[in-house]
Symmetry: C2
Subunit: 399 residues, 2 copies
């Protein structure tokens, strides 16, 4: 049957017959957990500790007891959830959206990102992807038979996207730009001027912008977050993809959402049941409760802000290793190029310390000298610091 599989799927990696280790493919992560290992490689807040917020727990139990959550919700998501999402978007970006014309709920933002791109991309299309970035945003493009064109950003420039670099990679086949803002893996927030430049570039060249804002909810040091869709003429050419997984720490519920113009939502509503199915009814109840509870994000923000300095100190104390305090979210990006290749180091740390981190090369060509780890794992600071100390020991032992 292999001969019937279409070309874009020939290179799918991490399945059964592959030596590639990917934390989120197959039973990879499960096997490490079973062997008593520590995973700092899943972008899952507080993982693996029980951490369901009390308000969400209560809403879920009420919904279970009521019994109606055995039934489908509308494939675009229940109206009450879309209203709560519209309020959140209004508070965060100033955009005044219609819950019935601009917003669709998705079963997590991973399927949301695929769905966001799918009505546009076909074989022959090129998509600009500033790197490093969330790997799925490149894989999605190639699964659709289109081509991801990596546009590397520079550490010296705080990984900001440069319009001149985008222009250099533009061809007549360029159809789309995909950015991850705040960025996974670097945690960097694109500054206001950079977003303005990106908007100009997108409008001038008549492109679609896919903006992956999974990490928008927790930003440090008062850095201003600007959603590209909030700039003039940009809502109509931006498909913004968001998640309840990271800021709210509700990855297990699988709730994300997309917002855009009504012209594009028309297509997303029309094909939802085919490609997405529908979100979980219970999860929608949990997400509504979370969106009404400001304490969830505020508490996480404070807890992580306090952790950042210690984590950075641990890694900066290693000779040849350096990192900066994250600008957002739960990710720590670490420069290890002076001691070796990130993929080799990841393998070594797993064997030496039974801790899994992510090699930088997964996030784009040219970033092989980096590691990413989730400093937002564990509820308890000391447990996280201990896991970081084990990564440190691994880095020191590596030769």
């Amino acid at each position: 049957m292999q001969q019937h599989i279409k070309a874009p799927f020939h290179n799918v990696t991490g399945g059964l017959f592959d030596s590639v280790i990917k934390a989120d493919v197959g039973e990879g992560a499960g096997k490490i957990i079973e062997s008593g290992g520590t995973i700092l490689a899943w972008a899952d807040p507080d993982f693996p500790d029980p951490a369901m917020p009390a308000s969400v727990q209560q809403a879920l139990i009420d919904s279970v007891n009521h019994g109606v959550s055995s039934h489908y919700v509308m494939p675009i998501g229940p109206r009450e959830l879309r209203v709560a999402i519209a309020d959140k978007i209004q508070r965060q970006t100033g955009l005044d959206l219609d819950p019935s014309r601009n917003i669709i709920v998705t079963p997590g933002s991973d399927s949301g990102l695929f769905y966001a791109m799918y009505p546009f991309l076909e074989s022959g299309d090129e998509v600009l992807v500033p790197t490093p970035t969330y790997p799925n945003n490149m894989v999605n493009i190639s699964l659709m038979g289109a081509k991801a064109i990596e546009v590397p950003t520079q550490a010296e420039n705080n990984y900001q996207i440069e319009k001149s670099q985008l222009e250099k990679h533009l061809t007549p086949n360029t159809k789309m730009l995909v950015i991850c803002h705040p960025n996974n893996p670097t945690s960097v927030v694109y500054r206001k001027e950079v977003i303005a430049d990106i908007a100009e570039f997108v409008i001038e060249n008549d492109l679609i912008l896919i903006c992956d804002q999974a990490f928008e909810d927790i930003i440090f040091d008062g850095i201003e977050f600007v959603a590209p869709a909030s700039l003039p003429q940009m809502l109509e050419r931006t498909v913004t993809v968001c998640s309840m997984s990271k800021g709210y720490g509700l990855s297990g519920l699988r709730i994300g959402y997309i917002y855009t113009s009504d012209t594009l939502i028309d297509k997303y509503y029309g094909a939802a049941v085919n490609i997405l199915g529908a979100p979980s009814h219970l999860s929608c109840a949990g997400a509504i409760a979370a969106l009404h509870d400001d304490t969830i994000i505020n508490e996480r923000q404070v807890r992580l802000a306090n952790r950042r300095a210690t984590v950075c100190e641990i890694f900066n104390s290693i000779q040849g290793v350096s990192c900066q305090a994250p600008e957002s979210g739960i990710l720590q990006w670490i420069n290890v190029e002076n001691i070796g290749n990130g993929a080799d180091i990841t393998q070594f740390i797993l064997q030496d310390q039974n801790v899994l981190v992510n090699p930088g090369g997964q996030y784009g060509k040219g970033f092989e000298g980096y590691l990413r780890l989730i400093y937002g794992c564990f509820r308890d600071d000391v447990q996280l610091f201990n896991a970081c100390e084990r990564v440190k020991d691994g880095l020191i032992n590596f030769k």
Copy 2:
């Protein structure tokens, strides 16, 4: 931006700017419910009554209380769930599958059906689809730029698939056959000999078979159900797509699963996080409990078996209308060709009686003279019979 949307999405119907009424698109169903209407058009057992089985409720509450269900499960589904699924498949089909090499959990079987087809289909491919069938199985194909070739079955032949008809529609571009077994909308189960013919046809012509078995769990009158994948040489060329929504009545949880050979599962595991994301953690806990509780399906089977005769009587008592007792599941297929077109009648019944049913034409060309309704709605028989009586009144009033 519309000019950037690829051709297969130009004809997506039911979104914002469309007069087409589809019960599962946009806010269509929601608006009817708000207006006090009755929906017999969503294939959702017991809808709209609270109907979560007690064992599932308990498992969900335990999982919420434990608090760990805020976290991701593996994108292929937790091993415990895949083991329970393998046991179920063994009992139902005799197939002895490896939970880590043959099975993947999907967030519902709608996304599962799209995912099952996606690694194969591209522009230029033709797919044979015996009709009438679940409409998404045709829409999926066209969303991928491939072409669904309808192969109508005949009421006189109990809607069984005929090998000679399949052969008549075969071309050098035929890559796949998609069947819905038991069938939605007719409820018909393909007989053992028919499945043997289909297997022969698939093998002789080197095709992929996608088998949508969403309705496999409840079959009446002792009709033998044969899964095509259980025939010799067929596991490797069949992708079987199943659901916890229909038999277990857990549509709101969004749990389905796919089983096939390890060669193909390799691809499905590899691309899962990209296209599917992952199932809901809580929903997996609920599904595990359901799979361990035989009473759920047994109780539904008895309840529906008892309803069938009364429902048929109601419709057969109308001049020019006829139907047969369902062979499976929750669907009643009704011949109304002597009184008018199914689409017109559906519209009329909605206005006259505020009850929504489905027009037969949605399920394939040539079936415009039929209606489908969900006689598995409501816990209470009398409520369902009353709703059927209203449909009857609408049919009588229609001119």
